[in-house]
Amino acid sequence: MNGARIFVESLKKEGVDTLFCYTGGAVISIFDELHKHGEGIRLIQPRHEQGGTHAADGYARSTGKPGVVLVTSGPGATNTITGIATAYMDSTPLVVITGQVSTDKIGTDAFQESDVTGITLPITKANFLVKDVNDLAITIKRAFYLATTGRPGPVVIDIPGDVQKQDCKFNYPDDPGLTSYRPKESGHPKQIKTTAKMLSKATKPLILAGGGVNLSQANDELNKFLNKYKIPVATTLMGHGINPEDERLFCGFVGMHGTLYANYAIQNADLIIAIGVRFSDRITGDVSVFAKNAKLIHVDIDPAEIGKNIPVDLPIVGPAKSVLMELNGADIKGDYSAWVKEIDDYRKKNPLVYEKTGTLKPQYLVELASKIFPEDTIVATDVGQNQMWVGQYYRFRHPRTFLTSGGLGTMGFGLPAAIGAAVGNPDRQVLMFSGDGGFQMNMQELNTIRKYNLKVKMIIMDNSYLGMVRQWQELLFEKRYSGTDMGDNPDFIKLAEVFGIKAVRLGRPEDAERVINELAACETSMLVHAVIDPNENVLPMVPAGKPLDKVITKF
């Protein structure tokens, strides 16, 4: 069997049914084998490798299965870089396979040669250059194993053209044979006991749930935990998808644009159990006073996250799910009802608010969509104000329903991520929110929607600005709107129609409910071009590096 065929057979062994791929000279043999022997593998061809990589990422985030990408060498590979970096920051399991020039040409600056393992080194969990066909199957085994276990992440396999053509016997190993890689499978029992003790002593405990809860499929366990002990929960942007029975326990998301009550809870808690969070600067603000009254327990599968940004009182290395299962069985005595009431009273006095004027408010759109779309709708956002409004006003009750580029903040992520989600979840609603700027970064993928007849509901929040940056300019640069004007946007309705997608314009608040209902009910893809108030800002806002309680609520 030649290397290209071995590759195809290995994908089948891994149960891969969807491949996001774009061809070229260095992968032509693989495409040929896919053509001949690729039964059971659906090929999704984007219009740009970046779009394809984000789509694989959206597929992975929404399904929990690894996203698989195949591209050619040189420019094909470098076009995936933003997608790989995005996946790396948010710990998405991706396997990206790149063609490479033949082994005898490597290092000669051959046509379409680029040092893929060199370039992707800092943005992959691992990467491999396969120089011998005998190593191909085991490398693929390792790549999938590494991408999906422990702290997930993207893995790159670079396969030179001649290796694809060489023959060897196909034998797919059961064991990846990685002796030095052993992710923890459960938290240390002693630490679990200590946690139970600390919780029994605490009067104001708070759970801070991050993306790791979604990645570890721990949402049910966490909900159970919250219901059992009646502990309030705040999330990071990536932690959305938590749904306790008592809505008072839910504080929304923390950080720069977090709710006042979530940040209040952080700053006033006496014990925080952080689960699967990285404590990024967008979450902590000024680290020196972050959670200043609280003891901190940090649960994470990646020991390097613990103590990286914030000193920790009790580290627990292990997957969120098994740690929560242990905690659900622990003996915890505590009555936190006064604390729940304290947060709730604070919330009633300091809710999320926006000014209701005659103009179309983006927050209103998000609220409407959250009410009208089914609960298990998968929502993808782009980056900027639109992302924060969705984070604030959309109530996510299910795991893996919020797809957003949290760590890298990649504009252009929303549309292709939604496409990947639609590919992986044909029976569910997929809703995209994007700014007018970010939408145009990967709008060529509208054709992917058409090509595969996908169902993606799209809302462009058009403020004719690069809104989030404009907001910073308003606040910090005396309204000098340098480089943020988007007054020259194309006609988004016509644009959608060129790709055969139904589109409507929405400008008046009184039409919003009807249009969002129409969007939800539409049997095909549909785009809403929402012309929103250009001056709307995301509030509350904790300026970068400031303490979480130094909040701006008005400009």
Binding site: T117, G118, L121, P122, K125, A126, L129, L146, L178, T179, S180, Y181, V287, S288, D302, P303, A304, I306, G307, K308
Partner: protein
């Protein structure tokens, strides 16, 4: 917040699988996380498929622990030791080509003896001296010579391990 901790030299020893690119993975990780590498050496161990890197980095104690954890995330990293100042045993080897006028040769030979260094090559213009010891010892040997007398210096970088009694 505590004042910035003092930056000191730390020695980190890393046992790695002998796979292509592993050296650059280790060094680029350290630089990427904001540390300077002051010295590095690499060599085989008792297993032929592994080698051991000894790296001198500048950082505070907390960040050294960070580096250790980050290094463990590299798939080919098998073990990471932090060599603590109390229990460290470290050695370096230096080869030094020195220009020496005939008249000074005896004096220089005595110095070489004091440092337990040895002459491994000699020519009409001077010697090549091999010296082994701590880096400080090599530093002080070098400082005995005028700048122009030293023609070339090659140092191995530190190799180090913790003493037996380090738990």
């Amino acid at each position: 917040m505590a004042e910035k901790e003092q930056l000191t030299d730390h020695i980190v020893s890393v046992l790695v699988n002998n796979h292509p690119g592993v050296l650059s993975k280790v060094t680029s990780l350290i630089t990427r996380r904001g540390f300077n590498i002051d010295g590095i050496s690499a060599g085989n161990t008792k297993q032929s498929d592994m080698f051991r890197l000894t790296i001198v980095v500048k950082g505070d104690d907390r960040s050294i622990e960070q580096i250790q954890k980050q290094l463990y995330k590299i798939i080919d990293v098998v073990k990471v030791w932090i060599i603590t100042p109390e229990s460290k045993l470290d050695r370096e080897i230096g080869l030094i080509k020195i220009k020496i006028p005939q008249s000074l040769r005896n004096e220089i030979l005595q110095m070489i003896n004091v440092f337990k260094a040895s002459i491994i090559d000699a020519g009409p213009e001077g010697f090549i001296v091999e010296i082994t010891g701590t880096s400080e010892k090599i530093d002080s040997f070098l400082s005995l010579f005028e700048h122009h007398q030293i023609v070339e210096v090659a140092r191995s970088g530190i190799v180090a391990m913790n003493r037996w009694d380090k738990k």
